[in-house]
Symmetry: C2
Amino acid sequence: MRVTMKDIAKLCGVSVATVSKIVNGKCDDVREETKERVLNAIEEEGYIINSLARSMKTKNTKTIGLIIPDIQNTYYTDISRGAEDMAIKMGYSLFLCNADESVKKEISYLRKLMEKQVDGIIIISSLERDIEIEKLFKINVPFAVLNRTTRYKDYSVRVDVDNYEGMQKGIQHLINLGHKKIMYLQGETSLFFGKERMDGYKDALLENNIPYREEFVGTSTFSVGGAYDYLNQHGLIPGTTAIICGNDNMALGALNWAKDQGIDVPQELSIIGFDDTIFSAISVPKITTINQNCHKCGEILVEELLKKIHENNREQLIVSVPTHLVLRQSTAKPQV
Amino acid sequence: MRVTMKDIAKLCGVSVATVSKIVNGKCDDVREETKERVLNAIEEEGYIINSLARSMKTKNTKTIGLIIPDIQNTYYTDISRGAEDMAIKMGYSLFLCNADESVKKEISYLRKLMEKQVDGIIIISSLERDIEIEKLFKINVPFAVLNRTTRYKDYSVRVDVDNYEGMQKGIQHLINLGHKKIMYLQGETSLFFGKERMDGYKDALLENNIPYREEFVGTSTFSVGGAYDYLNQHGLIPGTTAIICGNDNMALGALNWAKDQGIDVPQELSIIGFDDTIFSAISVPKITTINQNCHKCGEILVEELLKKIHENNREQLIVSVPTHLVLRQSTAKPQV
DNA sequence: TTGTACGCGTTATCAA
DNA sequence: TTGATAACGCGTACAA
């Protein structure tokens, strides 16, 4: 049997109330001598507080839940790290849940988190399917989302990465280098930020007096193989000197394809990725990419969520996070 | 205020006992009509059980804690995935903690897990420093470790990857290809499996009548840069046709170095990694490596730990997990 | 077939 | 300066 407060109290000949005070540091009114005796007993007996019991009383668990779609993806683990760092800093624990790209698991975890009485929940969904989730939020648990449309009606905090601006920065960089025929190889268009990026692509071109041409847009999946296969099947439109991809995986696929075709990157073809994952940093050549500052996103998500938890107001909050271009080796001036 | 069992009971004009039975499926003795009425109310009111209160009674949380050193490392996330899959399968939750390569955090999480009354704990430590941790285990929480020496005196379950055999397989592969001068570039030697691998290296050579020579062993760190810098500084002993590295990161470092030196891999130099992480699968060329089946390890860790939790016997259990060679593009016959 | 009452370990209030 | 006691929400004998 685990040693409890009662045990310590009995052992020291004091009441549980006194022990509780000491454990929680609210012991200005406890005699130094008693305090020491109790502290010793705690150390001696290896007493550890039962946070279950504590939470029953205090009505909070000092824990927030974080649901991510894929723990193998550095994009999400970056967010997790940021969230974790901030949580610890604020005296909270983070319960990390890997939904594994499955709605079923996501909902199951959501439920579990609520059963565990977490103080708040952060959901990073990879897909757009929120109806069932909303149902669960009749319960008044503050929650935060990343990069979601307003389909979440009752969210507390929404943190958005500025995809529009990110795309603009990438295109502007290519244009500055002298590129004019720039392909945009996008991933699944079901994600809402697809539109933002597309707008960024178009607007950046137009601002530089380069006409937008539909045939320069390709669509595959957010994966190495998806991009590779697409290029293998469709090739490049003659004259294309640069590709901007939906994420780093796709950029890697494009890179591999170019290699297999004997196309030199960046001399003959410039490639830009999105996300600044580890893949863009270790490939050869290293890939120029657009950093979303995931770590920062994680921090902000927790920070703002905790504010909501404490303030307990019901206003919705939207925070926008800027992106920045990471210059590496996969972009260069086009050949003349 | 959250709706409780009491609320549901009052609403349905029954007692909490009845509601409890229904919630827990122990309702053979409840009239069908009442059951339905209660179930409806639960659905209607959005009642969610309070697992804190439940755990206080049942003395278990159906949760196990997993502490890993680095959530950014696919080696550990693979383990996590395996552990998670098995945990879910067995009706448990997994509380994942990222110790971030820090003893302090590791201990802090350990404590938190015990406060949260988890039913068992799995610790994947990256370094050998257990003294403080042992102290914490006076408390009788079953726990499991991966790849540890016996310095954990009171562990319940230990799962070991067969590093000796893994190394042997790698070396044998190279020897079969015709290599004779094989360098072993190891990482930090503080980890206990260093010895196992070294033994595997030596024995594999000796079994093939190739003398072991100390100068063919280099020591750096388990990182891309570590391996690169080592090779940059020391170069290769003339005649070396193959390198086996401590992990995939190091193999990647070796690969990059060879590239920069104009050494063709695998024609002029064969390289083998260890761990079969994503890096060995996406590099160019892809790296032949030794797979430790991390996912399986995670599964086994949870499976055996749960057995211990249920059986509650105090015998220690050691499980060994085999490795296998993953043939890719970085190994070939040596040039004549 | 359903309800009562107690205990789980803690905190907070108020009295001593 | 310390202690007694009532919650917190649930599960389980045992009683009705």
